[in-house]
């Protein structure tokens, strides 16, 4: 048995997270025990998209078996304020609807009962009287002057309308030899982690002017700027809202940001019940009411020279953020604002951003946040430029890329793009794809009447968000009035225990990415230990650990910022240890060598001190080392990239600290019988700076690719004509299975970021931005061999078989509806 056991021990580089997860010893939020007497919550949700509430009668529910309390809108009004928004808007979101409901799934009441079964029973005893109002269901309808309003008392559905101008786009457009335009839409979809939300809340009534204090355990994953929003809603100082996080989170991809409103709701429920309460979001609640990627309609136009060079871009974008402008929206726009010109050297840019409210679920963070929407327009436009000018799209890319010697490159709208060699990354992608062979295959397929296409996408992938970027939605005067917001703090603590063990604390709230593995490797290397010797704790506690508003799991801040902070903290602590033990070794502090669990002076490896003994020393005899400074037992570092400033007075904003690059290539065939898209080859080339752990980086790419494939081909949060939600279960919202996802070919180039401690950048969101549009470009290319291909340029996601077959029919000059004789193609 022992031989077998050693055979199955971990190899170097494997994840410290895995053994527990593989043995069912994960510690996910719903796996953690509760206090005795904890009640279970079920939330009554609106069945209407838009209705006036004539009455919500909970009296029968209060009397139901096992029910201890029912939280109503009156309680919420008495004990809390609505959730603050990032902009001044006419309607703020209450955590329970009071006079009217504004989307299907909006919470109306919370039942607290002895178990979830009983709580759900009592939900059915609540009588709600709705007076239906006309709903606003899409962007076009939201813009009509005489159409319905998402809230009855709104003067208009537009809650933000800002225009920006950089350079002289009007002159460039007027002078252009070609103007290429596109009108395009991005749908509502979501990242759908397998684990839903969990909140356990308790209220401690004493003190604080009657509001007491709250303690919460949740798999909320930040950004922790929302902690302030929660505390203000609960009318307590932030110190009186203690949040704790579980060790394991079953995926977030941004979406668990949306739990902050549920945290406020469950805090109030705990207050009402006078007992701890637990809520486990079920799949129907998650699909219906958690969050969504922001739907967008874009008009994009480019001024193009004969050789394909783009002189200017114009964006007119409208975002559907759902029924409330929930923080951090309208961040979907402004995360990407500084780098709207993508991978291209374009200095003239015009932008108009409008935000509308609709009667749909409020939107928020979904992997790629803002990127999928921008690139679906921009990269479709680049494909159209090539088609319209009769150019090879690869030449359009090469002619427009930011040159490799131009980095750090200041983009028109303010992004300081740190590093890259885009042409080199493109070359690596083409080589991996064997583009010549693919184009031969395409010619062959077309000669046989088959629909084979090759598409590309080039994407600049921002990571490490500037906490001030959303203020670009304000005017310069409003920003001046509010005071500057900028930066992206990352916090890390390295500490030593009394037997010399090392524990690391981080503020990145991992949800499967392997942060603990990477941190253990970094710290182990600094101290000359093995990764297994280091314990990394990611269970942030807002009352005990180092954190800031930037803490959380989003914008791929880990590799660039958090791992960097860990590295700095470990090095500082090591240097302080070296100060303290240099005398013992008879050398200068900088000559103390940490290796193989011991210390020695450089050049004297025979004279060693055991590391654990040296590290633990100050615990047992702190007075011995006071001359060399305070005992080296703990080091906390807050790191922020120096390049993140508040938006300038001329509205330029560097919204992220680093900018990776992705170049994708997709070759696919459309089955002419079924409309199904078959991916023949997919290559994704990434430059994410220095890769800290290549296998984990590839895992991020594969996972991002699979999610993006779903967004491209099957996933959409759908509503019917009355605003009823039609994607309530995973049989309606179709996530790809292993039969649907091909293995992408992944290649890397590495140009380290000059702005992060380890030269690393984020890599987890690029494919969410590049893959949907790359597939769409390939579909467009496949359709281009049809006689009337101009009729099938309006590509809408998801490209389901029905959508694609309608495009094929359009390209053949047939009506898209009604029965048509279909040429029988080759079915694989």
């Amino acid at each position: 048995m022992s031989e077998r056991a050693s055979r199955f021990g971990p190899s170097a580089g494997t994840r410290v997270e895995d053994a527990a997860l593989l043995c069912g010893r994960g510690q996910f939020a719903d796996d953690l025990g509760c206090k005795p007497g904890t009640l279970h919550a079920a939330i009554l949700r609106s069945s209407h998209a838009h209705a006036r509430l004539r009455g919500v009668d909970v009296s029968a529910a209060e009397r139901a078996v096992g029910v201890r309390a029912v939280l109503t809108a009156d309680d919420v009004t008495r004990w809390s304020r609505p959730l603050l928004a990032a902009l001044r808007v006419p309607v703020l979101q209450p955590v329970l609807a009071k006079d009217a409901v504004h989307y299907v799934g909006e919470p109306l009441a919370v039942v607290l009962a002895e178990n979830r079964y009983l709580a759900e029973d009592a939900l059915e005893a609540i009588r709600v009287e709705y007076e239906p109002l006309p709903p606003v269901l899409d962007i076009a309808q939201a813009l009509t002057l005489d159409g319905p309003r998402a809230h009855a008392d709104l003067a208009q559905n537009i809650v933000s309308d800002r225009s920006y101008c950089y350079g002289d786009p009007d002159a460039a457009l007027a002078a252009a030899s070609h103007r290429v335009r596109l009108q395009i839409a991005y749908p509502r979809n979501t990242a759908t982690p397998l684990e839903c939300g969990v909140v356990v809340a308790e209220h401690f009534p004493d003190g604080n002017g009657g509001h007491g204090a709250y303690e919460v355990m949740s798999n909320f994953t930040g950004p922790m700027s929302l902690h302030a929003v929660m505390a203000m809603a609960l009318q307590v100082p932030e110190s009186h809202l203690r949040l704790r996080f579980p060790r394991d989170v079953g995926g977030s991809f941004g979406t668990k940001q949306s739990l902050f409103s549920a945290i406020v709701l469950l805090c109030l429920a705990a207050r009402k019940a006078g007992a701890p309460v637990k809520w486990v979001e079920d799949r129907r609640e998650h699909m219906t009411a958690a969050t969504s990627a922001t739907a967008r309609r874009s008009h994009i136009e480019a001024a193009v020279q004969d050789d394909g060079r783009i002189a200017a871009l114009s964006f007119d974008q409208i975002d559907d953020v759902g029924a409330y402008l929930r923080a951090p929206e309208p961040a979907t726009f402004y995360r990407m604002h500084g780098c709207l010109t993508g991978a291209y050297a374009i200095q003239h840019l015009r932008v108009r951003n409008r935000v509308v409210l609709t009667n749909k679920t409020p939107t928020g963070l979904v992997r790629g946040f803002g990127g999928p929407q921008v690139y679906f327009a921009l990269e479709r436009l680049v494909q159209r430029i090539a088609v319209q000018l009769g150019l090879d799209p690869l030449d359009v890319y090469r002619r427009n890329f930011i040159a490799k010697d131009a980095f750090p490159y200041r983009a028109a709208a303010g992004a300081l793009i740190d590093s890259g060699d885009y042409a080199a990354t493109l070359a690596v992608a083409l080589q991996a794809a064997d583009i010549t062979a693919l184009r031969d295959r395409q010619r062959q397929a077309r000669s046989e009447g088959r629909l084979y296409g090759i598409g590309f996408a080039a994407v600049v992938e921002p990571s490490i968000s500037n906490m001030g970027y959303v203020t670009a939605a304000l005017t310069a005067e409003q920003r001046a009035h509010a005071g500057p917001k900028q930066g992206a703090l990352a916090a890390a603590t390295v500490q030593i225990d009394p037997l010399g063990g090392i524990t690391v604390g981080i503020d990145s709230m991992p949800a499967g990415q392997g942060h603990r593995t990477v941190c253990a490797q970094r710290v182990a290397a600094v101290f000359g230990l093995a990764p297994g010797d280091i314990v990394v704790n990611s269970e942030l506690d807002t009352q005990k650990d180092a954190w800031s508003i930037a803490a959380g799991n989003y914008s791929c801040r880990f590799a660039g910022a958090v791992a960097g902070a860990v590295q700095i903290a470990a090095q500082r602590l090591r240097d302080r240890v070296a100060q303290h033990c240099a005398d013992l070794l008879g050398c200068a502090p900088q000559d103390v060598v940490f290796a193989a669990g011991s210390l020695h002076a450089r050049g004297q490896p025979e004279h060693i001190l055991p590391l654990a003994r040296v590290l633990s020393g100050p615990h047992w005899a702190p007075a011995l080392s006071t001359e060399a400074g305070p005992p080296p037992l703990r080091e906390t570092v807050f790191f922020t990239p120096e390049t993140l400033h508040a938006p300038s007075s001329d509205d330029r904003v560097n919204a992220s600290a680093t900018y990776g690059f992705v170049f994708d290539l997709c070759a696919l065939e459309i089955d002419r019988t079924t409309g199904r898209v078959y991916i023949d080859r997919y290559v994704t080339a990434h430059d994410a700076g220095r890769l800290l752990h290549p296998a984990l980086a590839d895992g991020q790419v594969r996972g991002g690719f699979a999610q993006a494939l779903g967004a491209a081909l099957s996933e959409e949060l759908r509503y019917d004509g009355q605003g009823r939600f039609a994607s309530q279960t995973l049989s309606d919202y179709l996530l790809p299975t292993c039969l649907d996802v091909p293995a992408p070919i992944i290649v890397h180039t590495q140009t380290p970021s000059p702005f992060t401690p380890l030269g690393a950048k984020g890599i987890g969101e690029g494919n969410s931005m590049s893959t949907p549009v790359c597939i769409a470009n390939a579909v467009a290319d496949a359709l281009s061999s049809l006689p009337q291909s101009e009729h099938c340029q309006d590509l809408r996601l998801p490209l389901t078989p029905a959508t694609v077959l309608a495009l094929v029919a359009g390209g053949q000059g047939q009506a898209a509806t009604g029965t048509v004789a279909v040429q029988t193609g080759k079915i694989r």
Binding site: R116, Y117, E120, D121, E124, D282, R283, R284, T673, T674, G675, R676, L713, S714, R718, D720, A726, T729, S731, L734, P736, T737, L739, D740, T800, P801, A802, T803, L805, A806, A809, A816, T817, G818, T819, V820, A821, V822, T824, I827
Partner: protein, 289 residues
């Protein structure tokens, strides 16, 4: 998503089931494999007062070959049917269709009769039963009745099964040795719910096509051996006449279009299978001689 409360009865003998159905009628639900019923209970789309679990009722677990076909008891899982060694030989259509049902873990629990009872308009097994001229044995305290598939499926999720009856068995006739079969399905996702499925059977003198495209009940069409162009005309007629109410006009159009192309392909595949089978038989005869 937790079921509403119900009384639970573990049935040991079929007579108990009949008696309880007589007693509770529409307020009872029969639980076999639960792979269709349990999601509905979890979503509280149904709230039976009594749940009658027949999954441990030995008498309903029989998969019995009869002279003319296969008799499948109410508690027989789809996996059991699929693993019956002679399935591909005796009912090739079912052997082709069953792998499209759910996924392996669902088929391990889901029963064939349960899927028929549920009568989901997008389910493969009702389509197959219709294509194969299968029959259903409905049992109650009043006795047993045998009902043809064509009369059993009345509307979407509505069957001829009365409140005091349960499906005791399904009878699936063996396919003739000179028939070829094909089953083709298109879904948004490979393992998703079918948008269109076509079951085709080609005999020496006739063709049969059963179609599922979102209409309420399976439709079966018989043709003589027609040239492809004529078949296409026939399929166009089916496609136009389908009563659909999909989420979008595009989706409706797609299904009509697919009925034609998928139906044609299924018929062609079935004829090729028939011809292959005949060729193999001829070889065997030759060999014996």
């Amino acid at each position: 998503m937790k079921p509403a409360p119900f009384e639970y009865v573990r049935i040991d003998h079929p007579d108990e089931l009949s008696a309880l159905l007589t007693e509770h009628g529409p307020e009872a639900a029969v639980l076999a494999g639960g792979q269709s019923l349990m999601p509905i209970l979890n979503l509280r789309l149904r709230r039976p007062r009594v749940l009658l679990d027949l999954s441990r009722c030995r008498a309903l677990h029989d998969l019995t070959p009869t002279s003319g076909g296969l008799q499948i008891g109410a508690a027989v899982t789809q996996a059991t049917v699929l693993s019956w060694p002679r399935l591909a030989h005796q009912v090739p259509l079912l052997a082709l269709a069953l792998p499209h049902v759910g996924n392996p873990q669902i088929r391990s629990r889901g029963t064939l009769c349960g899927s028929l009872a549920h009568a989901h308009p997008q389910a493969e097994l009702p389509l197959c039963l219709a294509a194969l001229d299968g029959e259903i044995v409905l049992r109650s305290q009043r006795g047993e009745r045998r009902i043809a598939a064509a009369d059993f499926f009345i509307a979407a999720q509505k069957t001829a099964c009365r409140p005091d009856e349960y499906i005791a068995q399904a009878h699936i006739p063996c396919q003739s040795i000179d028939e070829g079969s094909a089953f083709l399905e298109v879904a948004v996702r490979v393992t998703g719910q079918a948008q269109v499925a076509c079951a085709a059977i080609a005999g020496p003198h006739r063709l049969r096509l059963a179609v599922l495209a979102g209409q309420a009940t399976p439709q079966v069409h018989d043709y003589p051996l027609l040239p492809e162009a004529d078949l296409r005309d026939q399929l166009d007629i089916i496609a136009r006449s389908l009563a659909l109410s999909c989420a979008s006009a595009d989706d409706d159009a797609y299904r009509r279009q697919l009925v034609v192309s998928l139906g044609l392909n299924a018929l062609k595949q079935a004829q090729r299978a028939r011809d292959r089978r005949a060729a193999v038989d001829a070889q065997i005869m030759e060999h014996r001689r």
